[in-house]
């Protein structure tokens, strides 16, 4: 018996030692990463799961499984203009393949584009007006491509006036036609005519290897779609991006890492330079563990505010939310500080108005409207109140200071940028008055609707992440005030719940903006009452609330007739904001803050919120390519 024990024990010991020995030997045997020297390589986290169809690069075909944010649309492809969600290098509007901004005729039925000269495709062919014409015409005659539908809808004809001039004739006036070629997250990318014209079936073509207009070409990729490696072109100076400098890294690797915690570990280990997103808690932990890592803000709240606006969306085709006094009462029952703490651990950028508090919007909207909001009067039916509290952001900053100390800004201006300009003050009394004025009655701790039924509804929310936490908290606050609200975690919220109107209220967003430009057409045009679907029908993006308002239609119709760069757009934007406050069709809460992080161990020159917010650090946005032109190796 004893013999066996010794035998087993020694076997285990030798196994353990042998194991490490083998591991060490393998360490020595494995070739070092000399193909991609770390100081010449930028490693970026691609938030998409591994590519479903790894060898597919033809991203003009809808649903063929081509990955987009694996570097393809950031580094290899290009189009006419970029509108940055942040400040941009020299302003948010980039003339990319176009030499100058769009030119419309007086009634917006024609658009002329002048292209840059001397731009080369990565195979050496010159980029000309023919490529643009081909891109539009091919997609118009081939249904099922990504831009087939909008081109067929708007374009009467397109022609190359000369090699560097493209002329569009539109079917009807459209002052925003250029947005189809203006990248915010992405837009219609230009196709290489000399490649695709030789392809028999454009929709079945895999475009492997891709031929692009960006400064990088595909070096190699994982056959299972986890990583894509891009190499700087030798003729990078023959691309439009060269205008803003030489991209620093020789190699750029995009990696899919499904587990957010593994992203953190890889960054701490020095295997990742940019992370798309972490959990709030993961971000706090990363800052503690890696002194070279940081987020958008230098301290709390770290995260980058995306130009999207998480909000409570009411279904306006549901009887319960017809009365604006009810919607206002629901808004006044909320405690924004608790919502900020619950969803983002305080790291939320609150917004009382229907504009995301990000990019250049605070300058254009939040700051100028601050006084109007502070003086805003609401009639509760019994008295008039001033519901706005401009100090909410400061209060949240004070709440998180005990935990985060010096990481929390103390400068009032910095706090407003990071925590928001203010929000509605929780006012239960006013909410009670509003509900009573609307014919509601309270029995015990339960509100009853005018028809005598208890006021109860379901709040659909995201399945995970901060929006889930926000929805759970909002439902809880309403329940405490005597409205039975259940939060439902809904994985189908954008795919079927919101479009089909199969909900009463939801936390999601129906407002997304350019971010770097005050123009609101990006989402607003789709809010026109013409597009509101009948109950039970499918509502197209983005007016999920199905709200109709004649004044809103007037604003939208005027925007349609106003040139993009006209300052009148900003005035119309202010009118929209005020209408939204009066009517409260949705309750705006905060911007969608993404806990993106980057590491300065190998590269410096990333954008920062405080000094140089020239681009979005959220890695799957196509405009993140401008970052590469600013990067310098950390060690010379």
């Amino acid at each position: 018996m004893r013999k066996l024990k010794t035998l087993l024990a020694s076997a285990l010991v030798s196994l353990a030692f042998g194991g490490t020995a083998i591991a060490q030997e393998e360490e020595a045997a494995a070739p070092p990463l000399n193909e991609f020297p770390r100081e010449e390589t930028l490693i970026i986290n691609n938030p998409e799961p591994p590519a479903i169809n790894p060898g597919m690069f033809n991203m003009w075909v809808a649903g063929n499984g081509a990955a987009w944010s694996n570097g393809l649309h950031q580094l290899a492809l290009d189009t006419l203009w970029f509108i940055d969600p942040d400040a941009g290098l020299e302003g948010a509007l980039y003339n990319q393949l176009a030499k100058e901004p769009w030119q419309y005729n007086d009634d917006f039925t024609e658009m002329t584009v002048h292209l840059r000269e001397g731009i080369l495709w990565s195979d050496g062919e010159e980029f000309t007006a023919d490529d643009v014409v081909f891109t539009v015409e091919t997609q118009m005659k081939t249904p099922g491509m990504v831009w087939s539908a909008p081109f067929s809808e708007y374009v009467e004809s397109v022609e190359a006036v000369d090699d560097y001039t493209v002329h569009f004739t539109l079917k009807e006036p459209n002052s925003r036609f250029h947005s189809n070629f203006s990248v915010r997250w992405n837009a219609a990318w230009i196709m290489p005519e000399h490649i695709f014209s030789k392809v028999e079936d454009v929709t079945a073509y895999d475009f492997n290897p891709p031929v692009g207009l960006g400064p990088y070409t595909l070096h190699s990729f994982d056959p299972n779609g986890y990583w894509y490696i891009w190499e700087k072109r030798e003729d990078w100076d023959k691309t439009a991006l060269a205008q803003w400098g030489e991209p620093g890294p020789k190699y750029v690797i995009y990696r899919s890492i499904p587990s957010t915690d593994s992203r953190l570990i890889e960054m701490v280990n020095g295997n990742l330079d940019m992370i798309h997103d972490l959990t709030p808690e993961g971000m706090f932990s990363l800052i503690k563990q890696s002194p070279t890592s940081r987020g958008w803000f230098p301290g709390f709240p770290y995260a980058h505010p995306d130009p999207t606006l998480p909000m409570v969306i009411f279904n306006h085709q549901n009887e319960k939310f017809q009365d604006k006094r009810v919607r206002w009462a629901l808004a006044l029952m909320l405690d924004a500080r608790a919502i900020s703490m619950a969803s983002y651990r305080g790291a939320a950028t609150l917004s009382a108005i229907a504009i995301p508090p990000t990019g250049t919007h605070p300058r254009d909207y939040h700051a100028p409207l601050q006084d109007w909001l502070t003086d805003y009067e609401l009639d509760t039916g019994t008295r008039k109140i001033k519901p706005y509290d401009p100090t909410i952001g400061l209060q949240v900053a004070d709440m998180v200071r005990p935990q985060f100390g010096d990481e929390v800004p103390t400068d009032e201006e910095a706090i407003r940028t990071a925590f928001g300009y203010g929000w509605w003050k929780q006012d239960i009394e006013a909410a009670t008055e509003l509900l009573e004025a609307a014919g509601f009655t309270k029995q015990g701790n339960q509100w009853m609707m005018p028809d005598g039924q208890p006021f109860a509804f379901t709040l659909n929310t995201f399945q995970e992440g901060v929006i889930n936490r926000m929805g759970t908290m909002i439902a809880q606050q309403w329940s405490q005030q005597g409205i039975q609200v259940t939060a439902e975690a809904d994985p189908e919220i954008y795919r079927s719940t919101l479009p089909l109107g199969q909900y009463e209220a939801a936390t999601a967003w129906s407002i997304e903006t350019w971010g770097g430009d005050p123009d609101l057409s990006f989402f607003l045009d789709s809010w026109h009452s013409d597009y509101v679907a009948e109950p039970g029908e499918r509502q197209p993006h983005r007016n999920w609330q199905r709200w109709k308002n004649p004044q809103l239609d007037e604003i939208i119709e005027e925007v349609r007739k106003t040139e993009f760069t006209d300052p009148r757009n900003l005035e119309l934007g202010h009118e929209f904001v005020k209408l939204m406050v009066d009517e409260m069709p949705v309750i705006p809460v905060m911007s969608f803050n993404v806990f993106s992080a980057y590491d300065t161990r190998y590269w410096t020159g990333f954008p920062t919120a405080e000094e140089d917010p020239y681009a979005n650090i959220v890695t799957n946005w196509a405009n993140s390519k401008y970052i590469l032109t600013q990067l310098k190796p950390a060690k010379q």
């Binding site: 494995a30 063929n64 499984g65 099922g144 087939s148 539908a149 915010r184 992405n186 915690d261 079927s496």
Partner: protein, 334 residues
């Protein structure tokens, strides 16, 4: 012998019936999904850009027709059966028009490789230790191992896998924690590639072995401790038969049949992949493909993976049933 052949033939017909019913169930399950692949694609195409409402409607119609989703279900079912016979499972809807089988074949080798090796390793280690523990019931070491095995068994696999990542990727970073092989080697028949694959497989495989060990250990220990109390073993011991002989020809021979059966079932069952392993270790495989396909409404890929799984399991059962009468003479072929 003739009896056996009749039995085998009957059993083969049953196999065909099981496969047919199984894939039919899989068909209806995957096509009755409430998730629309068209909406998945529209969300992706239109969700991030200035895309007009009319354009979305027109794209929706195009895709619905392209995917054949406007065809009645029964018609699609007969189409599917017809194509299934020639091994064609149709185009994937997530990667249209790439054949679903092509996507499956990309992931399949990784799943088969990782899971076959780790299943067999787990089986071997678990059974050897379990057999010893059943025979030497007074060994403290083996008893302690038993307690550990029982203790580890109910720990959620996710926790075990993630602990491996934290320990060997973070606290003591000696092993790669993601991917199937390094980014600086290319798939080829080279020693570098082989070593890279092995190194990347260590953590995923170890996590699978650790959680899987307990079942085999406990099963084998129970089997052996039952056998050693059987009269024939006691007699043999009393008669002075050598210990090695008792173990090899009495104990192991009797205990191995049920364990082999279970191994065959386990190997047949690997074709759905292990989603958690793949997620935690960013490891390629069928699990991720399957879950993503379900999530995106890609019924063709769900169906392709399901068909492979059904065929593999049904075949494993079939083989076991065929082999049993040969391995264990006590069982009559009936």
């Amino acid at each position: 012998m003739k009896d056996y052949l009749t039995f085998a033939l009957k059993r083969f017909l049953q196999l065909l019936a099981v496969v047919f019913t199984g894939i039919s169930v899989a068909f209806f399950v995957s096509y009755l999904s409430p998730i629309s692949p068209v909406e998945t694609i529209i969300g992706r195409v239109a969700g991030q850009s200035a895309y007009s409402p009319e354009a979305i409607e027109s794209l929706r119609q195009t895709l619905t027709e392209l995917f054949g989703l406007n065809v009645p279900l029964h018609e699609r079912y007969f189409n599917f059966l017809g194509r299934f016979l020639v091994g064609d499972l149709g185009p994937s809807l997530l990667a249209f028009p790439t054949p679903a089988m092509k996507l499956v074949m990309l992931a399949l080798p990784w799943t088969v490789g990782l899971l076959t090796v780790s299943t067999i390793l787990t089986w071997l280690i678990g059974n050897i230790l379990g057999g010893l523990a059943g025979y030497y019931q007074n060994s403290r070491l083996l008893k302690a191992f038993g307690v550990v095995a029982i203790g580890i068994q109910p720990i959620p696999y996710y926790i075990v896998a993630f602990l491996m990542v934290i320990i060997f990727g973070f606290l003591w970073p000696v092993l790669p924690i993601s991917g199937g092989f390094s980014m600086n080697v290319r798939p080829s028949w080279s020693p570098e590639f082989a070593v890279s694959i092995l190194r990347h497989a260590i953590l995923p495989a170890a996590s699978l072995v650790i959680v899987g060990l307990g079942t085999w250990f406990l099963g084998m220990r129970a089997l052996v401790s039952n056998i050693v109390t059987e009269d024939y073993v006691t007699y043999a011991e009393l008669a002075g038969v050598k210990r090695e002989r008792i173990v090899s020809s009495y104990v192991i021979r009797n205990a191995i049949v049920p364990q082999l059966t279970a191994l065959a079932m386990a190997l047949g069952g690997i074709f759905s992949g292990t989603i958690i392993t793949e997620q935690v270790f960013s490891y390629p495989g069928l699990g991720t493909l399957l879950v993503r396909a379900v999530n995106a409404g890609d019924s063709a890929v769900v169906l392709a993976v399901s068909c492979i799984a059904v065929i593999a399991v049904a075949t494993a059962i079939f083989l076991i049933d065929l082999l049993h009468p040969l391995l264990d003479p006590r069982i009559k072929a009936e």
